[in-house]
Amino acid sequence: MTGRVERAAPTTTVIGRRPSDATEAPAAVPPPRLRLLPRVNPVTRLAAAILVTTPLLFTIDWVSAAVALTLQLALFLAAGVRPSTMLRRCWPILVAAPLAGLSMLLYGRPAGTEYWSFWLARITDGSIELAVAVTLRVLAIGLPAVLLFLDVDPTELADGLAQVWRLPARFVLGALAGARLIGLFLDDWRAMAMSRRARGIGDHGAVRRFATMAFALLVLAIRRGSKLATAMEARGFGARTARSWARPSTIGAPDAALLVIALSVAGCAIGGAILAGTFHPVWV
């Protein structure tokens, strides 16, 4: 047979199969709820974190930090935070604290016996004490900042900021809605990187590529943001009518209790340092 072969109508070939061990996109694992705290408003937790940590910024000594850290660990364990959760959630702080301590160890104000020196670095009794104090302090400030917000839902925090603290709703809700776009930006970034590779400009140096992509992402972010703003405005956002709230955000006795606990921790830390004679205000 010569010439054109009569071809059959196209058929569809089914290809591939679902992997047998297919893991569906994992359902978002709810973060561990803090016991004793579920009825505390997120803004109260913010206030408590500020109350616990601010006094620690006024003194550089190891006793206050150690007391605060010990009490915090006991309280978080009592609230049902498992040590493994603490490690998982706090690792950046666990890394940062010794690093901050190390720089104090080498460059802290020298005092007492000198053990080792090299150029500007000197390890002395004074710098060792400072290193311990700073390491403990970073932990004592970082731990509550992370763990108190372990199970805080951003929407509930925004509700609290607007309804309890009376911050402007326009600002709070705008920030909340905008934060939701961050996940989209990650996808945008990946797609842009692949597109640049496909367009023949993926071989450029990392710095130049990062700079041009960052600019492109900014353009995209502004476009997405303005679309979101239009959608919000179409739903009456920013109207002059007084806004109502679908989800009530209130405070009560549990909130007061948490603040009392926070104040006690701070009081014990500072009091302990004064009793031990190590209290060392930063302004002296």
């Binding site: 071809r7 591939g16 597109s195 492109a216 109502s244 679908a246």
Partner: protein, 495 residues
């Protein structure tokens, strides 16, 4: 079916008298001299060429065109006899992009958002939220995360958020343009149910007339600069304004597409690119499909289909050398590899350029230059070509972009952007072209143009692979057809 009286609203009326709008800093009026009167409860489909100001009218009616600093208006545009900006909540607007309309992270909270802004009582809000979610057929708990909704579900969520405000006027701005056929059907059914329950007035802008013409009772066609050139019952307008509608790129139902049919090709001759035992996925440990075998032959058009989430785009990116397969091999035939290794994911970006060209779904991710001409020059400069003009101009002309050569890519219409992304890949003359949903949301003219372009490429010996949901596209271009399996039945032949 009888419905609770509480869901019915007082439908709104619309009146435009010599109305026009010009965006700040533009010389041209987006729309000018619009005269239109819509009675309460009417359902109107508004169509017209891109640049006729359809969306501008909708945005003005929703009161989101902004104040004097955003632009200026002439004439009158009235909602229930007063300016729309004074009637917040009287209209509800659903926009085109599903991702940019979600406000909050839980479904119920998102629907409640509009009611809160209008100051509705708390108990009333939640009963409205439940009614609205029910009306759009979202059978999900109110605390369902909005990030895990499909495109069609997100559009129905936006619709629920709009109707929870109990608007007398529902405004839809191409609500199905970014959706697959399943999503389009979902949204259409939801709108139909919502209108039956509420009795609200409807104005929908859309070039897919086939989706809406049975649901509306009036069709208005705008010409350039927003003059009404046809107005009446859809059946009559589709006949009387047929020529104008076709010229505007509107999908006139029943109008044949003059593009020819696919011709079956043998997937195993002249193969340029193939996948063997592929496991695909975007993240290690998160495979989407496994055991994928396919071949993309030169001189033919291959179309890949499959259900949502099966990994069609992921497979396209894997074949295009942009993602590494989790297992198995992508093999470029020696004719394609031309002296470098057979694995496209190991090629340098510049080496990929004239071998495999990939056009992504989202044009905005792909723009890197400030002008249309600049976009086309990118590939040629990367290849080290000196005389770019002689290569760029014919491509610009072929894709009808020459009058836009100096325009900023971001300012182009959807159809123009799609043509530009194709042009900027084709200018490098790759032997394999991969297109991800090339006809998504395109008007009829752009659709025909893209289909003809792909056919031309295949006739010139290029291996074209398209990922598409579009049945008409598959009929025209599916010389070789693959479907990513929906279940675990594995490989096999299907009709």
């Amino acid at each position: 079916m009888s419905r609770p009286v509480s869901e019915r609203v007082a439908p709104a009326s619309v009146e435009a008298r010599g109305w026009g709008w010009r965006h700040a800093g533009r010389r041209r009026w987006a729309i000018e001299g619009l005269d239109l009167s819509i009675a309460p409860g009417e359902r109107v489909l508004l169509v017209g060429p891109s640049g006729s100001g359809k969306s501008t009218v909708l945005h003005a009616l929703a009161g989101v065109n902004g104040g004097a600093e955003e632009g200026e208006s002439v004439g009158e545009l009235l909602l229930d006899g007063v300016g729309p900006a004074d009637r917040r909540g009287r209209s509800g607007l659903v926009l085109q992009d599903p991702d940019s309309q979600v406000v909050l992270s839980r479904l119920g909270d998102d629907v409640a958002f509009g009611c809160e802004n209008l100051g509705v009582e708390r108990s009333e809000i939640w009963s409205r939220v439940r009614d609205a979610v029910d009306a759009v057929g979202l059978e999900l708990p109110l605390d369902h995360p909005t990030s895990r909704l499909s495109g069609g579900q997100k559009q129905r969520l936006a619709l629920a958020g709009a109707i929870a405000m109990r608007p007398g006027l529902l405004l839809l701005d191409e609500p199905t343009a970014n959706l697959d056929p399943e999503g389009v059907a979902e949204v259409r059914a939801a709108v139909s149910r919502v209108l039956d329950r509420t009795g609200a007035t409807l104005v929908v802008v859309e070039h897919r007339v086939d989706v809406w013409h049975e649901l509306v009772d009036r069709m208005v066609v705008l010409g350039r600069e927003g003059r009404v050139i046809a107005d009446g019952r859809p059946k009559e307008v589709l006949v009387s304004a047929r020529v104008e509608l076709l010229a505007a790129g509107v999908w006139v139902p029943g109008e044949p597409l003059d593009v020819g049919a696919a011709r079956a090709a043998d997937p195993d001759t002249d193969v340029l690119l193939s996948g063997h035992g592929l496991t695909i996925g975007r993240q290690a440990g998160r495979p989407l499909r496994t055991g994928v075998e396919l071949a993309v032959p030169a001189g033919a058009s291959t179309v890949l289909t499959g259900p949502n989430g099966a990994g069609k785009s992921t497979l396209a990116l894997t074949l295009g050398g942009l993602l590494r397969p989790l297992a198995g091999r992508v093999v470029a035939a020696p004719a394609l590899a031309a002296g470098i290794g057979p694995d496209p994911s190991g090629w340098r970006s510049r080496e990929l350029l004239h071998r495999i060209g990939t056009v992504f779904q989202e044009p905005e991710h792909q723009f890197v230059a400030r002008t249309v001409r600049g976009e086309l020059g990118v590939a040629l400069r990367a290849l080290g070509e000196q005389d770019t003009a002689s290569r760029v101009d014919p491509v610009l002309e072929r894709l009808r972009l020459e009058h836009l050569a100096e325009a900023n890519p971001f300012t182009l219409s959807g159809g123009e952007q799609r043509r530009l992304t194709a042009a900027s890949v084709l200018v490098a003359r790759p032997r394999v072209v991969i297109l991800d949903e090339p006809t998504f949301g395109q008007d009829r003219l752009t659709w025909i143009e893209l289909v003809r372009l792909v056919r031309e490429l295949a006739d010139d010996g290029v291996a074209v692979l398209s990922v598409s949901h579009d049945a008409a596209y598959r009929e025209a271009l599916g010389d070789v057809r693959y479907a990513l399996g929906a279940d675990s039945l594995g490989t096999g032949k299907a009709a």
